[in-house]
Structures are given as structure tokens and as C-alpha cells.
């Protein structure tokens, strides 16, 4: 079997490329087109221009409300996930007993699906709140912090693994040199460790920010937006617009396009800023 480079390219990239087209590129372009259409099911679309985009913002304030809620959620969860994951990574690279066990345990929640996690945490949180005569839907803040806790619990393990890889990659020579020069633990952390794990920080921030914005299953299972859509995030709002209202499929689609642009923009900006701070070892 002797094949030229081009043919090997077809063999290796072909299947993935086809899958990428079927599962991503084609639906994406279709979605873009549909956001300018009025339709009931995807096969009976009629072009209506910018109407959907206008009513996404003007019809009611759902979209903007959920955008604001999503931003507040993203800020809290990005901070909590990354801070805790980084601390755990520092702790679990010191060679304390049971390091591997801890790493595994912290990573486990990541293997459970979002819907399941949502329901589990709903039970836990309600179980606590019941004692005080509340449930998770009683106040929007309960749902908000519930989501932050849930997100943290799920993502910390994964980010921790990435940070551990980063921390372990720091050459011991540098650390020793710092110690010889008399740098304390804090100084070493800020002058050596953090600059050296910048690539990990870039990737972790990217993952947590995009995941926070795109959060859907956990939101649906934990609160489903109750009370009165006050804990409804962007993805859930889009879903509810698309499926919950007859005649609003196009509006839902328009919201989805805006959502995509927004997430892409935030992610690119973040990548640009953190990349510029990365240093070569």
C-alpha cells in the first residue's frame, strides 16, 4: 500500500472532515440562513429579513435579562473554578500522601452528565433549604449560587488536571535558583509559578468562559429558569424561544446567532489577552 501524501490526507482527514461538515458546517450555515426566515420546521422556511433580530431584542426583555444573568454567572464561576482548581493543583503537586487518589476523586464529577448533576444538586440544595421552608426556586439568588456551586464542582477537577500538568512542567532548576536567591513561597508563586503556567491559564480560562456561557443542561435540570425566568441563561432562553413558542422559531434562531457571535468574541478577546502574557520556558 503505497499512497502519496495527498491520498493519505484524504484517508486521515476525510472522515473527520465529512463528519465536521455534516455535524457542524452544514447546520451552521443552515442556522445562519434560518435566522432570517420564518419557519415552523426547518424544511418550510420563508425569508423575512432582519425581522427576527429586531423582535429578539424588542419583543420582551428575556434575552437581555438572561444575557445579564449569564454574565454574572460566568464571572463568579470562572473565578471560583480557576482559583480553586489552581490551589488544588498546587497542593497536589507537593507529593503529599494519596495524591493520586485525590486527583481521581476531584476529577470524577466531570464524568457525570450535566442533567444528572443538575438533578442531584437540586436534591441536595432542596434538602438543605427545606429545613428553612424554602426551595431552590424561592429566590433567584438560590438558583444563581446553586449554579455556581454546581459548575465549580463539575469543572474544578478538569481544570485542576490541566494546572497540574502546567505546574509539573516548571523546571526544577528555576525553582531551586529562586530558593537560593532567597525567594519566599509567595514570591515564588507570583514570579515563577504563575508566569510559567500561563499557557495552562489560557486554556483553562478559555474552557471555563465558553462553558459558562454555553451552560444548558445544568440550568435546565437545576431550576429550569424558575422563578419567572430569573435564573434563565442564554442557551435556555434560546431553547425556550425556539421550542416553547409557536411562530418564534426564527427569533430563537436569531438569538442563537447573536449568542454565537458573543461567545466567539469573548473567547477570542480572552485568548488574545492571556496569550500575550505567556512566556517561553
Amino acid at each position: 500500500m503505497k499512497l502519496g501524501n495527498k491520498r493519505w490526507f484524504a484517508v486521515f482527514v476525510g472522515p473527520t472532515f465529512i463528519a465536521f461538515c455534516i455535524a457542524f458546517l452544514v447546520p451552521f450555515i443552515m442556522g445562519l440562513y434560518l435566522s432570517f426566515c420564518e419557519f415552523r420546521t426547518v424544511s418550510d422556511a420563508q425569508f423575512v429579513g432582519l425581522k427576527n433580530y429586531i423582535s429578539a431584542f424588542s419583543e420582551n426583555s428575556d434575552f437581555l435579562n438572561s444575557l445579564w444573568f449569564t454574565i454574572r454567572f460566568a464571572i463568579a464561576s470562572v473565578i471560583s473554578v480557576n482559583a480553586i482548581a489552581f490551589l488544588l493543583a498546587l497542593l497536589l503537586t507537593r507529593g503529599i500522601r494519596g495524591t493520586n487518589l485525590f486527583r481521581t476523586v476531584f476529577f470524577m464529577p466531570n464524568l457525570i452528565g450535566g442533567i444528572v448533576l443538575g438533578y442531584i444538586w437540586q436534591l441536595i440544595i432542596n434538602g438543605i433549604l427545606y429545613n428553612y421552608g424554602y426551595s431552590i426556586t424561592s429566590r433567584a439568588t438560590f438558583g444563581y449560587w446553586g449554579l455556581v456551586v454546581l459548575m465549580s464542582w463539575q469543572m474544578i477537577g478538569y481544570m485542576m488536571i490541566i494546572y497540574i500538568a502546567g505546574v509539573q512542567n516548571i523546571p526544577t532548576a528555576i525553582l531551586e535558583a529562586a530558593r537560593v536567591d532567597g525567594a519566599g513561597a509567595i514570591r515564588t508563586l507570583f514570579s515563577i509559578t504563575i508566569p510559567s503556567v500561563m499557557p495552562s491559564i489560557t486554556i483553562c480560562l478559555f474552557l471555563t468562559i465558553t462553558n459558562s456561557f454555553k451552560l444548558f443542561d445544568q440550568n435546565l435540570a437545576l431550576t429550569a429558569g424558575a422563578p419567572l425566568k430569573q435564573t434563565q441563561m442564554l442557551a435556555l432562553d434560546i431553547y425556550n424561544t425556539f421550542y416553547g413558542r409557536i411562530g418564534y422559531e426564527g427569533v430563537g434562531q436569531a438569538k442563537a446567532v447573536v449568542f454565537f457571535v458573543l461567545v466567539a468574541l469573548v473567547a477570542v478577546l480572552q485568548l488574545y489577552f492571556t496569550r500575550s502574557r505567556e512566556v517561553e520556558n
Binding site: 484517508v11 415552523r40 421552608g133 426551595s135 426556586t137 424561592s138 422563578p227 416553547g244 413558542r245 409557536i246
Partner: protein, 448 residues
Amino acid sequence: MLKKIFSFILCVSLILSLMLVTGCGDKSSAEVYFLNFKPESADVYQEIAQKYQEETGVSVKVVTAAANTYEQTLKSEIAKRGAPTIFQVNGPIGYQSWKKYCLNIENSDFAKLLSDDTLAIRDESGNGIYAVPYVVEGYGIIYNDAIMKKYFALSDKKVNIDSAEQITNFATLKAVVEDMTAKKDQLGIKGVFASTSLSSGEDWRWQTHLLNVPLYYEFASSEDFSDPTLAGLNAKEIAFRYSKNYQNLFDLYINNSITEKGLLGSKSTSDSMAEFAQGQVAMVQNGNWAWSQIKDVKGNTVAESDIKFLPLYTGAEGEENQGLCIGTENYFAINKNVSEEQQQKSLDFLYWLFSSDTGKDYVTNKLGFVTPFSSFSEQELPSDPLAREVVRYMNDNTKNTVPWIFTSFPSDVFKTEVGGSLLEYVQGNREWKDVETTVKSMWKSERK
């Protein structure tokens, strides 16, 4: 050598996976595809489908949408190649959304089964038949007569009536319920009413069914229309004059409930049906479809002969003669866009289900439907206690049935928003007047 084996395996797995992808498409091409609306009947429909295939060789695929997700499921299923051939619309508003997909079945044997063809859904000019109702249902307050008898036997009861049947207005109901709450330990119950379930997707008993009563009174007094549903369909705005009555009964539910107000947001309908079935409460608002949910609960203590209905009294004038809320929101439609052969097979299936002896046996005894079809004789009625009660109320000439005017509610969003505001009201974050505003403003904005 190793490389060759490796590339060979790679190629084979590639080809296999491609075949798998293409293979998926045609596997599920049943001749009749029925998208079922009623989760409580999901198992029975599977059984029926199997039986039908045994008898006729025609394969029937039944898919059941989870509670409150029918519109979503239909929307995605109907766009696929193997689209549902039989689907359901929930009345005139539902027909408006799906009319592009509804076949005119006026001349089918199935549509001719209707004993009164004015029940069917026709197009704007009143021609054709596009959807056929298949079940008549009723709802009200289901009560456990054993507990009620126990209460009425108490020597220190505060009311001067001796049976639940004598409750004929809201004032009496309220007096009885509040006295029962005070004596709940004596009665061995944890609350009079089962949980007013308000978790997401579980609030339809209040935002749709209970709201039906006050709005019925409003539409019934309309001067322009004699039919309250038509009045509702044509109402651009509502005055919500019976808001107080809506609040009356709703407050009675939540103030005499088994569950604290703050926790109602996490309760589901099946929670409340279980509470009723286990004898922890005396009353629950629901319809005759809930029989399967009562019967199948573990630790069921309610005797069949003790399960009865009370109408939804809200304190409206003349409610002494008010009966149960009886109507339908379940209409079958045939998908216009599937092949003619599939359409005919679907109609044959429905005809079989509602006219053959085997089919009718399933309908009356397993599904427990009271149907609007002439093929069912007076003896062929469901034997479950709730359906019998519905029939009893229907035949009682002294009682005025409240029709299901909620089929004229402007949209699902209207209902969801009302449900959301009820939850906020229960949790103490909103006042009743906010609920009132929501009902009025959402009606106006959703009915464009």
C-alpha cells in the same frame, strides 16, 4: 506487515461506520407512526400497537412525548423523514399552529365515527374536518370519601352538613376545609389538599385548569357570543373580572395544603397524586385521567368506591348548579405530508382502535377513555371510579357543565407566565394583583 494490518483495520472500521450512518435512516420506517400526547397511557399504547400488528400485520410505532414537551417533540419529529403520521393538536389554537400539516379527513370512516361532528375542528370557513377529538375528560376536586365521612361523623365539626355531596358552593367548601385542617390529626391526614405542584412544567392544573373557571364565567357573560369558547377566541383583551374567585380557591389550596408554601415550587403532579393515593390528604384537584396515577401508587390506601369528584367552586354567583369542567383538548390529526398509503393506514388504525371489539376494549378498560364516538354503546364506558363520576355529572341535568374554554387561551407562553407568577405569589415575592396583571397583560400581548 504490522502497518498493513493496521491500515486494513482502519479502512474496515471506516467503511463499517459509514454503513452504520446510512443504515440508521431506514430502520425505523414503521407504516404508522403515532406521536402520543399522554404519558400516563404510554404503556397501553405500546400494547395496542403490538396487538394491531399481530392482527393486521401493519406495524405501528408509538412514541410518547414527556409531560409538557409535546410541541417540542412534534416540531422536531415532523421535520424528519420518518415523520409522525398521527399526531395531536390541542384544539383550535393548536390547529392554527399546525394547519399546514393537517389532512382533511372529512370523508374518512374514522371521522364519521363522531356522534356529533360539530366537535371536530374545521378550517376558518367551516369546511372539512382537520382534527377529531377522541376523548372527553372532566376535572374537579377529587376527594377521598372515607376521610370525608370520618370528618362528618365528628361530634365537634363546625358545619351543619353531613356529607361531601352537600357541598355546593365555595363558602361551604371553605368552612369544611378549614375545619378539617384544624382537626387534621384527628382525621389522620397531613393536610386537606395535596401539594399545589408548581415546579416547571407541573403547574398546568392551576394556570390552565383552574383558570378555566373564572374565565368561563367572564366569557359566558359575553354579549357578542353565545359560545364561551368562541368568545374567548375572539377576546383581544380580558377584564379578568373573576380574579377574586380564582384567588379564593387557589388560596384555599395553598393555605390548607400538606406542603408548606415555600416548598411548592419543587413539587410535581405525581407527588400530589401519590399523597392522595396514600391517604395523606383528603382532596386533590385533577381530572379523570389521573386514575392510573392513583391506582398504581405503592402503598395505595384509597378504596375505589371512595374516590369522588366535587366541582371547582370559586364563589361565583349561581355556582350551586355548577358541574365538573368537561371537554377535550385531545384531537387526532393526520399528517398531510406523508404518503397516501401511510395516511390511509393511519386512518385504518384509528378506525380499528375506536370501532373494533379489541380496540374498544383497550379504549374503555385500559385507556379509560370516555369517547365522543357513536361506536361506543352506553354500556361500554370505563369502569374506573373517576370516569364513572364524569359520566354521572354529564348525565345529571341539574348540573351545568363548565366547558373547557382554556382551548381558547392565546398561547403556551401565556400559561407559562401565569404559572410563573403563581409560583412567585406562593413564595411571597409577588402580590395577588401582580398575578392579575400578568393574566391580563399576557393575554393581550400573546393574542396579537
